[in-house]
């Protein structure tokens, strides 16, 4: 009997709020006033944000020079892949009417380069790049091995298509004096990329570390000769290489190339005046009807130029405000009907 009672008890469902679906609940029911004031607040916030962003975007100084056309001869030369060993330099002068204050960054910009192609993105070996196994070329098709069967390092299509123009900025102090603007070539890549994701294989000598591997077919020199002066910037941990390997999301993109080294004349930034870019033109964009440009830019608190964001905020803010006004109108007009209904 006793057991029976216990049995009975055990079959009775627990009287917990959870099991009886009676959990204490907060009912989120926003009143019309709350919603309307929320809308106003958000609209005002967006508008304000848009104005701030717009102002800061305006404060940015930016120079973009598309040199695809300007270096026509070089471009023509590069059309033919067989001329890969011929050097071609190209000089582009421009005038900076206002000085660029603060940190100045030098970017190269590519148009119509689909770095987001699916097969392209996959064509890399992170295991190789992190230095674990320099001969791991598993995912690198179609650039796995060279013609003589050696594994390519760094393998894959991304590495092979690395941007290899060299850009030097000269400050034309006067017609005869051309000062080379000091540029820092490091710290252009993300910290995690440089110190975690990309590692040279551990060997005393970098070239011996890459022994038994071949250079990518498009490269003029092997990876361990990317920056022979600075061992911390050579091999896989070369900043230019790392920046290239971080593939862009859209076919038109700019990548950080150099940072202004603020010494001497350039402590304040880039003074106004006449400048010229000396470009060692290697990267063939004509073959895929792309274009390339070089960009000089300063930054604001929110980073690079965010004109779109500013405008988007402005538009959103305006629309929200407009919406809240019309909602209020509708609501006030219908309020009478509603009270009638409530009775």
């Amino acid at each position: 009997m006793k057991r029976k009672c216990q049995d009975y008890k055990s079959r009775l469902p627990d009287n917990t709020a959870m099991k009886q679906q009676q959990l204490p609940a907060f009912r989120l029911q926003l009143s019309a006033n709350e919603i309307l004031s929320g809308f106003f607040a958000i609209g005002l916030f967006c508008l304000g944000m848009g104005i701030i962003l717009l102002l800061s975007a305006k404060s940015i100084r930016e120079v973009e020079i598309n040199y695809t056309e300007k270096c026509a001869t070089c471009a023509k030369l590069r059309e033919d892949a067989t001329n890969f060993d011929k050097e071609c330099n190209c000089s582009i002068s421009f005038y900076l009417p206002q000085k660029m204050e603060g940190n100045v960054y030098l970017y190269y910009k590519l148009y119509g380069f689909y770095q987001n192609l699916y097969r392209y993105i996959l064509s890399r070996s992170n295991i190789q790049l992190v230095g674990t196994d320099v001969k791991d070329v598993r995912n690198c098709a179609p650039f796995k091995t060279s013609d003589n069967g050696l594994p390519i390092a760094p393998c894959g299509a991304i590495a092979n298509s690395m941007f290899n123009d060299t850009i030097v900025l000269l400050y034309n102090f006067n017609s005869s004096t051309h000062i080379r603007v000091p540029m820092v070539r490091t710290e252009t890549a993300w910290w995690t990329d440089k110190y975690v994701k990309f590692q040279n294989p551990t060997f005393q000598n970098l070239s011996s570390a890459f022994a038994g591997t071949a250079k990518p077919p498009n490269w003029p020199k092997p990876v361990y000769e990317l920056d022979e002066k600075d061992p911390g910037n050579n091999g896989f941990v070369n900043d230019d290489f790392i920046v290239w390997m971080r593939t862009a999301a859209f076919p038109n993109f700019k990548k950080l190339y150099r940072r202004l080294h603020r010494i001497g004349n350039f402590t304040e930034g880039l003074p106004a005046g006449s400048y010229s870019f000396i470009i060692n033109y290697n990267f063939p964009v004509g073959r895929f009807q792309g274009q390339k440009a070089v960009v000089l830019s300063t930054l604001t608190w929110s980073g690079g130029s965010s004109l779109f964001l500013a405008l988007a905020y402005l538009v959103t803010g305006a629309v929200t405000l407009l919406a809240s006004f019309s909602m209020m109108a509708v609501h006030l007009k219908l309020k009478e009907r509603k009270t009638f209904f409530l009775q």
Partner: protein, 1164 residues
């Protein structure tokens, strides 16, 4: 396949008793039953085959195969195989558990013990080892193991009583009798062992009331009919033992043949989801095609050169082929619109709801300690869509307890309690019960509260005494004294039991009977009446009478029966009493009580003797015997003196009326399908308010031939439409009717309430293809449909009919084995648990102990499940559209090559939201709105970051516009947008909501940071190349600005839209909510008014669960145990008589039965 072929081969069955070798030749099935679907070996292949028949599973398998092709694969194959394996395993485990329980129950049944005669000895044998041709012994209250030919029993003349509740739901005892040649075998084991009769009979079939066969034994042939067969599922009652020979075993038994096939049930949401999945698949193909064409064009114009530039050493494929490959890649990428997680989530939500049903204390029946149980977890939301409820009667609507409630004696009502204000109140409300001092045998369970009646008895009111005497005399009850000296009544119909018990409690105790006498105790004094004649009950007479001689020598005829019949044969002097009594009867009937009119007649000796002589003559003639007897009965049952009327309550289960009412208010139609009699069924219909006097018409279809049924249906329809026509413009309706006849399942509104009552025989005809539509059309326009006398299979057929032609969601509820097929064929089957038999529960999808819980199951759990499921699906599709279409937009900017925005995250977080859904309650919004909403969100999610990233640089000048940062930004925006969205959708914030919504955001970020951490990159550099991404991106101010803007832009329009919708087009639930708010402010809610009493009109509430043939049993004394053997001559006389009556009985029953079943055989 194999079975059916074999069955079709078996035209007749030849069984030889006690000869297993002989019977083995025919390969009859043994008594083992299998309701389980799989065995250990067949489980995997069959189950997998079944599972991959599901659209979704097949679709994912297809995707998996696509992903294994390296040229196409854009996602790693494990993103599909892991969830697919998970889903398939989960389902398989569930199926396996279900089947395990089926095995267990099979085993339990198969291992029941029965005594089998093997090698001339009675041996205990498991049921499953019983073979066709075996002779088995059954004992009282045992379940019958197989379909048996009754050979002999403990009762005289090889009688035995069985209860067939499991088969047809009727609880009154039925009598079966063995052939006289076999009944002589008795319990003599050696003779039984030598019995070598050969039975040639019909092949296994599902007709419960039909059996034809021939027994050849000792050179003579004996014909067999249903009366000699005990079917599996019956219980032996009031018979201490009997022997039977197994004719059909296991799956061949009529019980098993009647159990419908277990079908795989799925909900309409499931089907909708399947269609949606197909649509979406079509949509995907469109998207894929657009992208593939785009890809081809791009390849042609730009890509070719670009590709050659990138992959210079590779001979390029042509652009068309590339487009082709892209197409498949995008199919894979975009499959996230219908991710496999949808199916997992839906299952999990359903599981949760099932648990909520199991946990519901309001559906827990404490008296039987049975909680509600969701036995299938996949049908919950369908509970919110039920349109038709098919209910069994006995045990489901009623408690199957008869109680004597009221009576009207000589124009005065007893049993009604008047309160101080002179108003009638419910008797049960009165606190004190009657003392019953007059009756020492008073039954404590008896509840009858009227002191006036007691007073009248004590005062010796002759009419009251006569009334009670009649109740004690005129019946077919058998009495028995148990060891404790208490009287036990063996009741053939529960109504009679109630009446006799009532008389007993009121001081007129039926003590015992012999074939010639009835002894009763009248207020303490024993009186023995001589039983002169017994005018038995039958369906046409609707009455029964006894003629007795009391000790004073007076001859009296006591009669009870249907008021309509009895009133016609009253003496003219009764007119005043008649009107009074018939008023009372209508009142009783209005309360849903089962009524009988009571009358007597004083006979003078001479007249009776003449009559009796004529009766004896008639009995001995062979031609037109029945007609003559009937004529004589008519002759003597006239000029009756009315005594009064009785009202017996077929007790409804608690809350049935309220449940029925509220379900009808919810626009759910309730059909009652019962194996019971028409009168009983109608009565219950009235009792639970399904039939009311306000109804415009009640159509009764009770034809016995196909043409009759057709005619009746036609008339009913004409009536229905005719009346309808008179309500509105005749011409219009006539045209409507014409169109209706063309397409007969068109819904038409018919003014007024109608009810349809159809019995089993008519139903058999009506289910024929050409009348079927008429029936359905008629039935669907009636508010209430009652089908009586239906077989289990017919129940299923009715359900199937509605299912097939109305496209409605059906629910069947029942408690016994006779409901199993109906439960199985309805969309949702509900079993009443806590009863003895478990078959209904085992076959059901939900089970609970009381009919009234149906209300809560449907209106609360069903609605919630449905609403929540809809909301979940809407949200899910919204989310996935938002999520997936981002790929689509991205496709335009990456040369249409497939690319995943965030391949790792995608498989992780869709599931995160689903539990948050569990406590939502809101109304449904359209799938396409969700879709549009999703599309809009995806636009915002893609193009705002796109614009922002266009010329972006980080705060430190490093570029941030790489695709990984873009992926992180979009994914984070997506998570935040959908979280805000769900927060807005959540109307009730419980702890769970908080935990899941905040938890899911937290989980997202922790997963994000984990996957982007150095450590995990160190372990799997190739699988997790996102190292440092989150860290870098999410520390950028501009990224957060983008996320914020995206959120605002995608959420604001929704809020505005909803705000305006509530203002401009408030939905019903909005209105109700506001109304409630206002009400709450105004004053506390009033409690609902108690239900008003039914209006009662003149209507006969006659119902009597009685069967013909008992009168003869009693007068012949065959069913009385020979405690004191009567004198020799008497015995011989009885023996002689007995054969005659038994033959009569057989003849009668077979006539009626075979006429029914023969027809049915053809029609079914």
């Amino acid at each position: 396949m194999f079975c059916s072929r074999k069955k079709s081969l078996e035209v007749e069955r030849i069984v030889k008793a006690n000869d297993r070798e002989y019977n083995e030749k025919f390969l009859y099935k043994d008594n083992r039953i299998h309701t389980s679907k799989y065995s250990i070996l067949t489980f995997l292949p069959i189950n997998l085959f079944e599972q991959f028949q599901r659209v979704a599973n097949a679709y994912f398998l297809f995707l998996l195969i696509l992903q294994l092709i390296p040229e196409i694969s854009s996602l790693t194959w494990f993103t599909t195989i892991v969830p697919l394996v998970l889903v398939v395993t989960m389902t398989a485990v569930k199926d396996a558990t279900d089947d395990y329980f089926r095995h267990k129950s099979d085993n339990q049944v198969n291992n029941r013990q029965s005594e089998v005669l093997i090698d001339s000895k009675l041996q205990n044998e498991k049921w499953m080892n019983v073979k066709v041709g075996d002779i088995i012994k059954l004992e009282n209250n045992q379940f019958v193991a197989a379909d048996l030919l009754l050979l002999s029993s403990s009762e005289p003349h090889g009688l035995c009583y069985i209860e067939t509740a499991e088969l047809d739901g009727e609880t009154n005892l039925k009598v079966r009798h063995a052939l006289s040649v076999t009944s002589e075998l008795g319990a003599d084991i050696s003779r039984l062992a030598k019995f070598d009769g050969i039975v040639v009979c019909e092949a296994p079939n599902n007709k419960l009331d039909k059996f034809t066969g021939v027994l050849s034994w000792n050179g003579s042939k004996h014909s067999l009919n249903n009366e000699k067969i005990i079917l599996r599922g019956c219980v032996l009652r009031n018979t201490s033992w009997c022997f039977g020979m197994v004719i059909f075993a296991g799956p061949d038994t009529k019980l098993m043949q009647n159990s419908g096939k277990t079908k795989f049930k799925r909900t309409s949401i499931d089907r909708l989801m399947n269609t949606l999945v197909l649509w979406i698949f079509g949509f995907l193909i469109c998207l894929g095609t657009i992208l593939a064409i785009g890809n081809s064009i791009w390849e042609n114009q730009v890509g070719d050169q670009f590709r050659t530039f990138l992959f210079s050493n590779e001979r390029e494929k042509n652009s068309v082929f590339s487009g082709f490959l892209t197409f498949w890649s995008y199919i894979i990428i975009l499959n996230t619109v219908v991710p496999i997680s949808l199916y997992v989530s839906v299952e999990v939500i359903r599981l949760g709801h099932s648990y909520f049903i199991n946990w519901d204390r309001k559906m827990y029946y404490s008296r039987k300690a049975t909680p509600a149980e969701a036995r299938t977890t996949t049908l919950n939301e369908e509970l919110g869509q039920i349109e038709y409820v098919f209910s069994d009667k006995t045990g489901t609507l009623t408690q199957n307890i008869m109680t004597f409630k009221k009576c009207s004696i000589n124009g005065r009502i007893y049993g009604e309690v008047c309160d101080d204000w002179g108003q009638k109140t419910d008797m049960t409300k009165k606190k004190e019960t009657m003392g019953f001092s007059v009756s020492p045998q008073a039954d404590r369970t008896f509840q009858f509260f009227d002191h006036h009646l007691m007073e009248s008895i004590e005062l010796g009111d002759p009419k009251v005494h006569e009334f009670l005497r009649l109740l004690a005399l005129c019946h077919t009850v058998m009495s028995e004294e148990n060891s404790a000296g208490e009287l036990i009544y063996q009741v053939q119909s529960p109504d009679e039991g109630a009446l006799v018990t009532a008389a007993k409690n009121l001081g007129f105790i039926f003590k015992s009977r012999t074939p010639e006498t009835i002894t009763i105790e009248e207020l303490g004094t024993l009186v023995t009446y001589q039983l002169l004649a017994f005018l038995d009950f039958n369906n046409f007479r609707k009455r029964m009478s006894v003629i007795v001689r009391n000790p004073e020598g007076q001859i009296k005829l006591y009669s009870k029966g249907a008021d309509t019949i009895l009133f016609e044969r009253l003496h003219p002097s009764n007119e005043d009493l008649l009107t009074l009594t018939s008023d009372h009867l209508s009142e009783f009937a209005g309360e849903g009580l089962r009524t009988l009119a009571i009358a007597y007649r004083d006979l003078d000796d001479k007249y009776f003797r003449e009559w009796h002589k004529m009766l004896e003559d008639a009995n001995t003639t062979t031609d037109e015997r029945d007609e003559r007897i009937a004529g004589l009965y008519e002759e003597i049952e006239r000029d009756l003196m009315l005594l009064g009327a009785t009202a017996v309550e077929d007790k409804l289960q608690d809350g049935v009326i309220e449940t029925v009412t509220s379900l009808s208010l919810a626009n759910i139609k309730i059909w009652v399908l019962t194996g019971d009699k028409q009168e009983t069924a109608i009565n219950i219909g009235y009792a639970c308010n399904m039939l009311t006097d306000d109804m415009n018409d009640v159509f009764i279809i009770a034809g016995n031939t196909a043409t009759e049924v057709r005619e009746e249906l036609r008339k009913a329809k004409e009536n229905l439409f005719g009346r309808n026509r008179s309500f509105s413009n005749g011409h219009v309706v006539f045209e409507k009717k014409q169109s209706l006849e063309l397409d007969s399942v068109v819904e038409e509104t018919v003014t007024g309430d109608y009810a349809l009552i159809i019995n089993g025989h008519s139903l058999a005809y009506a289910l024929e293809s050409d009348v079927k539509n008429d029936l359905l059309e008629l039935a669907c326009m009636c508010k209430t449909v009652v089908c009586c006398r239906v077989t289990p299979l017919q129940k299923a057929q009715v359900v199937e009919l509605v299912k097939k032609y109305r496209n409605a969601v059906t629910l069947a509820i029942g408690d016994g084995a006779n409901d199993v097929s109906m439960i199985k064929s309805a969309h949702i089957g509900v079993g009443i648990s806590g009863q003895e038999g478990l078959q209904a529960v085992l076959a059901s999808d939900y089970s609970f102990a009381q009919f009234r819980y149906l209300q809560r199951l449907l209106l609360v759990h069903g609605r919630w499940s449905y609403v929540r499921m809809c909301k979940f699906l809407c949200y899910f599709f919204y989310k996935n559209f938002a999520f997936t279409l981002v790929h689509f937009w991205f496709g335009f900017f990456c040369g249409f090559s497939a690319q995943d925005v965030s391949d790792q995250n995608s498989m992780d977080y869709p599931q995160l939201y689903k539990p948050g859904q569990l406590n939502l309650l809101f109304n449904k919004s359209e799938f396409f709105i969700c879709m549009a909403h999703g599309v809009y969100t995806s636009l915002a999610l893609f193009f705002i970051p796109y614009g922002a990233f266009h010329n972006m640089a980080g705060e430190d000048g490093r570029h941030t516009a790489d695709y990984q940062s873009f992926a992180v930004t979009t994914a984070t925006s997506l998570v935040i947008v959908v979280s805000v969205q769900i927060a807005l959708d959540t109307s009730y914030w419980t702890v769970i909501n908080h935990v899941f919504i905040w938890g899911s955001i937290a989980t997202y970020f922790s997963i994000l940071f984990t996957m982007h951490s150095n450590d995990i990159f160190g372990i799997f550099p190739n699988q997790f190349p996102f190292v440092g991404n989150a860290r870098h991106s999410l520390t950028q101010k501009c990224i957060w600005l983008v996320i914020l803007l995206t959120t605002v832009a995608s959420v604001m329009p929704v809020v505005a839209f909803r705000f305006l919708k509530v203002d401009l087009f408030p939905t019903l639930s909005d209105q109700i909510r506001q109304w409630q708010k206002a009400q709450k402010k105004a004053r506390p809610l009033r409690t609902r008014k108690p239900q008003t009493r039914r209006s009662s009109s003149r209507r006969s509430g006659y119902a009597f669960a009685h069967q013909e043939g008992y009168g003869e049993l009693i007068t012949s004394g065959k069913n009385m145990r020979a405690k004191n053997p009567p004198p020799m001559s008497g015995l011989e006389k009885t023996l002689y008589n007995s054969t005659s009556w038994i033959e009569n009985l057989c003849k009668k029953t077979t006539d009626t039965v075979s006429s029914f079943s023969q027809d049915k055989t053809v029609k079914l």
